[in-house]
Amino acid sequence: MLNIQNLHAKIGGKEILKGLNLSVNAGEVHAIMGPNGSGKSTLANVLAGRDGCDVSKGTVTYDGQDLLKLTPEERAWAGLFLAFQYPVEIPGVNNVYLLKAAVNAVRKYRGEAELDAVEFLALIKKKMKIVKMQEELLNRSVNEGFSGGEKKRNEIFQMSILEPKLAILDETDSGLDIDALKIVAEGVNSLCNEARSIILVTHYQRLLDYIKPDHVHVLSGGKIIKSGGSDLALELEKKGYDWIKEEVA
């Protein structure tokens, strides 16, 4: 599904990713953990195609394509989804219409018929229950006046509607209380299947109590310095990151 080889990336001239390797197969859930400033968010942004993240070396192959050559919208059409760490507010752009346009852009790309208003509404009603979205939030402008938790839930809501092949969650759990965290985890778990891959970028082990990853990676200094199974996360929770850094050094 996703294959990252020796990835180097700069932001504002500063090298953040320094030779990152990662391989994600279909149906797998990967957790990427690491201290602040290790490059976790940069990785998520490079994969989604944000301007200003300059890839200086390395390759990223997604579903057989050179991902780095695609525009952000082309990546979205091809089934890649980024749940933002800080979702922006977009005054004047209606949530529901954005979603409808997004769904239909993806369907069009896949050669499927576009959803009409009735079909789309049915889809929304179904998915709203999973993330417990309130209807009144839906009809507002994108994220406008949403609380931090509501913004994160909206990301998961969008994800569940777009049904991506590869979802990258950039610290979606940060700042959430336990109830909101459970809702987010439920949303993610409901999407898990053998064709879909998920990358959870997180700072806290707590999320992994609710979503069980197949692989856990530690990102530090722009590289993955250790990989393991889900028990690695528990070890990190107990001992912090320093022991790995020492082990690697």
């Binding site: 952000p72 979205a76 933002f84 004047g92 752009v93 209606n94 219409y97 346009a101």
Partner: protein
């Protein structure tokens, strides 16, 4: 005497000027004769060069009346708006297309020419009493040619639910025309009404509109004033709105500028008694080589008055816009509030905006704020939309529309709001795609 204005003087000679107002016209002409057109040395006209208007020999005498078909005119009305209509074609009142009768009790609406003949005593107290011919040569020129325009008078305690829509249509053929529409709106104590001035040009018509509107609001009067400027892209438009506000009166002004090659809008609110409030909203969209200048001025003459101003601009191509918002807080006008904001979106590298908020404060207990921003589309928003499968072009249009809609959405009259939304979308690339987003 100034040069380059001879044809205005000879046109004046052909004007029917034998009524009780003739001396006023003559003295206004004398003011214009003395000043001529304003030049860039004047602070007020620093960024707007009116030489193109001066060079073109516009005729103020309409010798060849142009007819328009009824369906042509109907297409230019606000769909779904139940209103009183006054239609002017090339500056001349077109009674056959207007829809005034039957008038509600307490409301008078007449073409200015008829009002001059019928309501001498009333008009003598109001006409040209609020707009100062010395404030701008264009105002003086307008006063000299007063003939057509809307006279609207609402009696005290009368609330007029139906908006009055004044349509100024220009469709010149033959020699380019200058028109000088003059409107007078008198709103009595506790009275309320809505007036829309709509300026629409046909195709690529070349003409010059020089409009002046005077409004006076008695105590606790409410006036909502809309000006929607869609002149042709070869037209010149100079427009002035002057309002004198009494105690607790409330003026809400919306000024939307979409057309015109060279446009100047002036709004001047005089808050002359305690409790008077003015709200000024404006939107200008420019492209190609358009030049649009918005000048506003509020005089806080008495304590406890308030003004709120919010203007937004979207500039594309090689266009240029000017915003100058002046707030003068006079001596002893304590406890006033004045807030002003001007935000601009530059869509091209060649577009230019000159924005200047001006505060002159001679009182010491006031609450004032002002701000101006100039920027491009927000990169974070753009990336967010693109990551949600929206292609770049549509995302740009959508954000541009959303920027304009923050102003448009404050318009209370549904049919006007809706039509403006469609007009604005129509000016954006990918119009059909973003129309999908805006269903209410």
């Amino acid at each position: 005497m100034s040069t380059g204005i001879e044809h205005y003087l000879s046109d004046f000679e052909q004007l029917e000027n034998d009524d009780w107002f003739s001396e006023n016209r003559q003295s206004a002409l004398d003011v214009f004769k003395e000043s001529g057109f304003p030049n860039a040395r004047l602070e007020d006209w620093k960024y707007t060069d009116v030489r193109p208007i001066k060079k073109k020999k516009f005729s103020s005498v309409n010798k060849t009346p142009v007819s328009m078909r009824a369906d042509e005119i109907d297409a230019l009305r606000f769909q779904g708006l139940d209103c009183i209509d006054l239609v002017f074609i090339n500056g001349v009142f077109a009674k056959e297309y207007s829809n005034i009768e039957p008038l509600e009790e307490g409301l008078i609406i007449e073409n200015m020419q008829d009002a001059l003949a019928k309501d001498k005593d009333f008009l003598a107290n109001h006409l040209a009493k609020y707009a100062d011919d010395n404030s701008s040569p264009f105002t003086a020129l307008n006063t000299a040619f007063i003939q057509n325009g809307a006279f609207i008078n609402v009696s005290p305690d009368v609330v007029i639910e139906k908006p009055v829509n004044i349509l100024y249509l220009s469709k010149t053929n033959g020699s380019p025309l200058a028109t000088h529409p003059r409107n007078l709106i008198v709103v009595g104590e506790n009275a309320e009404m809505t007036v829309i001035e709509s300026y629409i040009g046909h195709g690529q018509a070349n003409y010059f509109t020089n409009a002046v509107t005077e409004a006076t609001l008695s105590a606790n009067a409410h006036l909502k004033h809309y000006k929607i400027q869609q002149e042709s892209l070869n037209a010149y438009h100079i427009g002035n709105l002057i309002a004198l506000q009494s105690r607790d009166s409330n003026l809400e002004s919306h000024s939307i500028s979409l057309g015109g090659a060279l446009v100047r809008n002036d709004i001047h609110g005089k808050l002359a008694a305690e409790g008077a409030q003015i709200v000024m909203n404006g939107l200008y969209m420019t492209d190609n080589k358009q030049h649009v200048d918005n000048h506003t001025r509020v005089d806080h003459l008495k304590p406890h008055t308030s003004s709120t101003e919010n203007y937004r601009g979207i500039l594309n191509g090689k266009s240029r816009a000017v915003f100058n918002g002046k707030v003068v807080v006079h001596k002893n006008a304590q406890k006033i509030e004045a807030h002003q904001n001007n935000a601009n979106l530059l869509l091209s590298n060649d577009a230019e905006i000159d924005t200047k908020p001006e505060l002159e404060i001679y009182a010491d207990d006031v609450k004032c704020s002002h701000g101006a921003t100039v920027g491009q589309l927000d990169q974070k928003m753009l990336f967010y939309l693109r990551s949600r499968a929206i292609d770049e072009q549509t995302a740009r249009s959508l954000l541009t529309y959303a920027f304009a809609d923050e102003l448009i959405s404050s318009i209370g009259l549904g049919p006007i709001r809706h039509q403006l939304e469609q007009l604005i979308i129509g000016q954006l690339p990918e119009a059909t795609l973003i129309r999908e987003f805006t269903h209410e």
